[in-house]
Symmetry: D4
Subunit: 168 residues, 8 copies
C-alpha cells in the first residue's frame, strides 16, 4: 500500500518521540512512511520532498524537529498538502524554541502546530486521521470509537481510584 | 449555501483579528459561518456547538480565543471535526498564555494551532482550505494560484526595492 | 459521611502530586472525594460533574491538571461552587503552560489558582478549609492551630540550626 | 452596614484596575471596604490589617499588587480569612513578576490567585461572592442569575454577528 | 561596483529596521545590495538566492526576519558564505520568537545572530565589515577609526552631562 | 564636596530613568557624580573608571544599563567598591535581558541588582544610602525619617480613598 | 563574638545552597549568625527579626528563599539595615519566580538581589564583606587579596589547559 | 603553527561543551589555541587578551560563557577581530541568561551569537571556518565537502530507517 501520511523528522534521535505518531497511524490502519530529512543539513532533499508530496499522493505530512525547528515550515513552503508540526524538546530550552519556530509562521504558509514532545507527536497523527476523515465516513466512525476508548480508560481509572482510596 | 467552515471566537472584541480568516475564506469562495461562543461564559452553547458540527456538515472549525484560551480545546473535545486554534494577544501576556492554552493539548484531543494574532487568523483559514483541498482538485489549483500570487507580490516588492535604492 | 470537598485530576499520573491535598483534608477531618476526570478525554463527564456539584452538596472543588490545563476552567464554567485550580508540572514546560491555562481565566468565571505542583496541591486543600471555615468557628480554630503547628516546626528547625552550627 | 469583603491595593495608582472588583461587589450588594496598604512601605499597617480581619468580621479579602507583589502573601500570613490575590501589570514585565510573586506561595499559606489585571480584579470579586455563597442560598441564586446574564450577553452578540455579516 | 555584502529581508515592512545595516555599509563604503525574499512565500527564490551567493562573489549575507524567522537559516543551508541573522520584533512576542528561530540552529549550519531589532541590524553590518577586514588592512583601520569615533561620542556626552548637572 | 556615590549609565538616553537615583541622593544630601560610560563602546574608560573608584573615595557605585547590560559587571570586576546594578528596559525584551545580564553574575564578583527601570533606579540610591548608613548614625536617622514619610504618604492616600468612596 | 552579618533562609532545605555564603564569611573571619525564618509560616518572627537587626548591631542581612520569595522583602520593609536577597531554585520554575519576587521591589524598599542559587549565595556574602569594607581598610585589603586569589586560580587553570592540550 | 582561531571559555568546567568547537577546527586543520579567561575574575587578562588578538594574528575568536555571560562582549569591546559567542547552559536558567547576555549587544560592538550549548560550540567553529574561507578557496572546498558529508550522514540514516521499519 502506498503511504497517505508521512512522518518526517530532522534527526534519527527524534524517533523515540515521533514513534508516538506511528503507533496511532498503525492503530487506524493508515498506510504511512517514515523519513529523516534535515531542513538545514539536507536542504535540497527537504525541498524535493516538499515538492513531491502532492504528486506522490501524500495527503498529510507530520514533521517533528527541535531547536530552531524549520523543518515543518520549509516543507510547508513547498507544498499545499497540510503540514502538521511537532516541536521537540531536544535543546536546553525545553522545546519552547522549537514551539516558536514552528507555530509563529507568517501569514500565507500555515503549519498546524501540536504540543511539545510525545503528546504532540501522538496528536499529530490523530489530527492527520481527522483530516483524512473529513471525506471518509468509516474513518469518522473509527475516530468516534477511539474517542470512546480513551474516555473509557479514564472512567475505568476514575472507578479504581474511588474504590482503592478509603476516604475519611 | 450551507457553511463548510465556521469561525468561532470567544468575544465580539476578537472580530477585528478573526476577520483575517474571513477574508481568506471569501477569496477561496468557501461558504462559512461566524459565531461568538465563550467556552467559559456559554459552556452549554460550546458543547452543543461542538456536538452539532459533524451532523451539520461542518468540515473544519477555526476557533480564536485569548488568555486561558480553552475554546478550541473545548470544541475539539466534543467533535472529531478538525479544529484549528488561533491564540489571541488580548491579555497583558501578549498571547503567550493563549498560545500555551491552545497548543499544549494532552494526548488524544489535538488542536491544530496557528501563530498568535492576525497572522494566525489568516493562516487558520488557509490551512482550512488546505484540509478541504485534500479531496478537491480544483481547490488544490486555487491554492497553487494563491501561492503564486503571494510569491509574485514579494517578487514585485523585491524589484521595487532594488530600483528605488541607489546603492553605493 | 458525604464529601464536602472533592479533588479532581485529569489523569491517574497526577495522584502522586494531588495526594498532598488529600493529606491536608484528612488532617482537618474534612469528608472528601477523589476523582479522575479529563476535560478533554471525558468532556461529558466533566460537564455532568460540574453541573452536579451544587446539588450533591459539594462546597469546594480542587482541580489539578497539567499542560493546556482546562479542567478547573471547564468545571468552573458549569458551577457556582468555588473551584480551586492546581497547575501541574507534567509537560516539558515545567508547569508554566498549566499555570497560564488555569489562572488567566476571562472575566466572569474565576478559578482560584495555587502554586505549580505539590506546594499548590497542599495549599489548595488549606484554602478549601479556609473557605469552609468562613461560617464554621471550630474550623477557624483548627486553622489557627495548624498555623501555630507549622510555625513551631520552623522555630524548632531555627533553634536546631543555631545550636548545630559553630559560628566564627 | 459593616463590610464583609475588603479590597486592598498597594498603591492608589492601582484603583483604575481594582475598581473592576468594586463594580461586581456593588452589583451583588455585598458591603465592602476599600484600602490602600503597602506590604513594603507600610508593613506594620499590613500586619495589623491582616491580624484584624477575622475580629472585624471580614470574610474574604481581595489584594491587588504589582511587581514583587507581596501584599496578598503578607496579609495571608497573618490571617486565616481567605485571601484572593490579583497580580497587576504595573511594571515593565507585564505582570508576570506579580503573577509569580502572588501565586507561587509555599506550602502552608495559600493565596487564591486570579488573572493579571482587570479580568483578575473582576474575577476576584466574583470568587469572593462564590465563597460567601457557600452558606447563603440567596447569593447562590444571585450567582446563577449573573451567570445567565453574562451568557445571554454573549448569545446576543452571537446573534448580532450572524445577522450583520453577509456570508458567502 | 558589484555588491560584496547583501541585506535580505522577509518583507518590505522590515526596511525601516534593516536600513540601520545599510547606513553602516555606506559609511564603510562597502558595495552592497538590498533584497526582499521570503523563506516561506518565495521559497524557490530563497534557495536560488542562497545557491547563487558564492558564484556572485557575495562575501557576507545579512538576513533579517521576524516571527518564525527561518530566512537566515534557509539561506545558510544553501551556502557556505557567512550568514548573519537579525531577529526582528514584528510579532506580538517582541522578537523572542525570531531570536529563537534564528539563533538555535542545529549543529552543522551556523547563523551568526545579532540583537533583536535596530541594534542588531546595525551590528550585523559592523560584523560584516569585521569579517571583510580579516584580510583587508585598510578596513581594519577604518574599523579602528569607527571605534574611536563611537567612543568619542560617548566621552563627549559624558563631559556634557558632568557640566550640565549641578551636583550637590 | 567630593562625590561619595556615583551614578553611571551606558548612554545619555538612560538619564530619564537614572535621574530617579539622583533625586534620592539629593534628598539625602549625599554628594554624588553623574557619568556616561559604555562598557562596550568605551571599554578603556570603564576599566580606568572601575580601577579609580577606591582611590577617589567613591564608596558606592550605581550602574544602569539596558540590553546585554555588562556595565555594572565590568565595573565590579575592577573594584571592590560595592556596585549596584539597575537593569533598564530599553530593548524590545522589556528589560529582562538587562536583568539577566546584571543579576546572574558568576561566583566571586557580585552586583547588587535592583528592579527593572525607574523603581530600580530609585531603590539603587536608597540602597546606596543604606550602605553609607552602616557606619553613620545620622544617615540611619535620615533613613528612618524617609521610611516614615513614605509610609505616611500611603496612609494619607488610604484615608482619602476611604472618604472619597461611598461604599454600599 | 557577636554576629555582624546574618544569613536567614526560609526553610532548612535551603541550607545546602546558603552554606556557600557561610564559607565566604568564615574565610573573611566575619562573625555571623544563621537563622531559619519563614516570611509566610512565621510572619511574626520575620517582623520581630527585621525590627531587631539595627539594635542588635547586625550590619548586613543575607536572605535566601525560593518560589514566591518574600523573605528578603519582608525583612527589608522592617529595617534600614542593607538586605541582600538570594533567589533559590527550589520550585519547578527554576528560580525565576524567586528572582522576580526578590528583585522587583517597589520604589522605597530595596533588596540587593544576587544570582539564582549557589553563585548568588556566595556572592551575597562577598557583597556583604564589600559593604563592611566601605569603612574598614583591612577588609578592603582582604577583598583585594581574595580577588587576586580567584584570579590566580583561573590563570593556573588557563596554563594547565594550554599545556595539557596538544593543538594542531 | 601559530593559531589563527582561539577558543576562550570562562571556566574549566566549560571545556566539556567547548571541545565541540575544537573537534571541528581539528577536522578543518585550522591551527587553534585554547584559553580559560574570566571576564569577571580575570578582567585584566580579558582586556589584555582582547587587545592582543589582532597583533598576534588571530583572525577569529570563539568565546563561551554561561550565566551573565560577558566574556564575548568584553573581548569584542577591545578588538575588531570577529568574536563569536557561545551561550552556555551552566546556570539554573538553562542558558537563556547567557543567550541574552551574549546576543543583546548594543549598537556598535557586535558578537556573532550561536545556539546555547554543544550545538552552538560546534557551529561557532564552523562559522569561524566560513569566515576564514571568505578569502581562501581551498577552505571553501573543504566546507562544501563537509556539507556533503553531513548531508550524506542524514541520507544514510533516512535509508536505514526506511528499511528497518516495516510500515503498514
Amino acid at each position: 500500500l502506498e503511504p497517505v501520511v508521512e512522518i518526517v523528522m530532522g534527526s534519527d534521535a527524534d524517533i523515540a518521540i515521533m514513534t508516538e505518531a506511528e503507533k496511532v497511524l498503525k492503530e487506524f490502519k493508515i498506510p504511512y512512511g517514515l523519513r529523516i530529512i534535515s531542513a538545514h543539513r539536507t536542504p535540497d532533499k527537504a525541498i524535493e520532498y516538499g515538492k513531491s508530496l502532492n504528486k506522490r499522493g501524500i495527503k498529510v505530512v507530520i514533521a517533528g524537529a527541535g531547536a530552531a525547528a524549520h523543518l515543518a515550515g520549509v516543507i510547508a513552503s513547498h507544498t499545499i498538502v497540510p503540514v502538521i508540526g511537532v516541536p521537540l524538546n531536544t535543546s536546553p530550552l525545553s522545546g519552547i524554541d522549537a514551539l516558536f519556530s514552528t507555530v509563529q509562521m507568517p501569514g500565507g504558509i500555515p503549519v498546524a502546530t501540536m504540543a511539545i514532545g510525545k503528546a504532540g507527536a501522538k496528536n499529530a497523527a490523530i489530527f492527520a486521521v481527522q483530516v483524512l476523515a473529513v471525506e471518509d465516513k468509516s474513518l469518522k466512525e473509527a475516530l468516534s470509537d477511539y474517542r470512546k476508548k480513551i474516555a473509557e480508560a479514564v472512567v475505568k481509572k476514575d472507578k479504581q481510584l474511588s474504590k482503592a482510596k478509603i476516604k475519611y
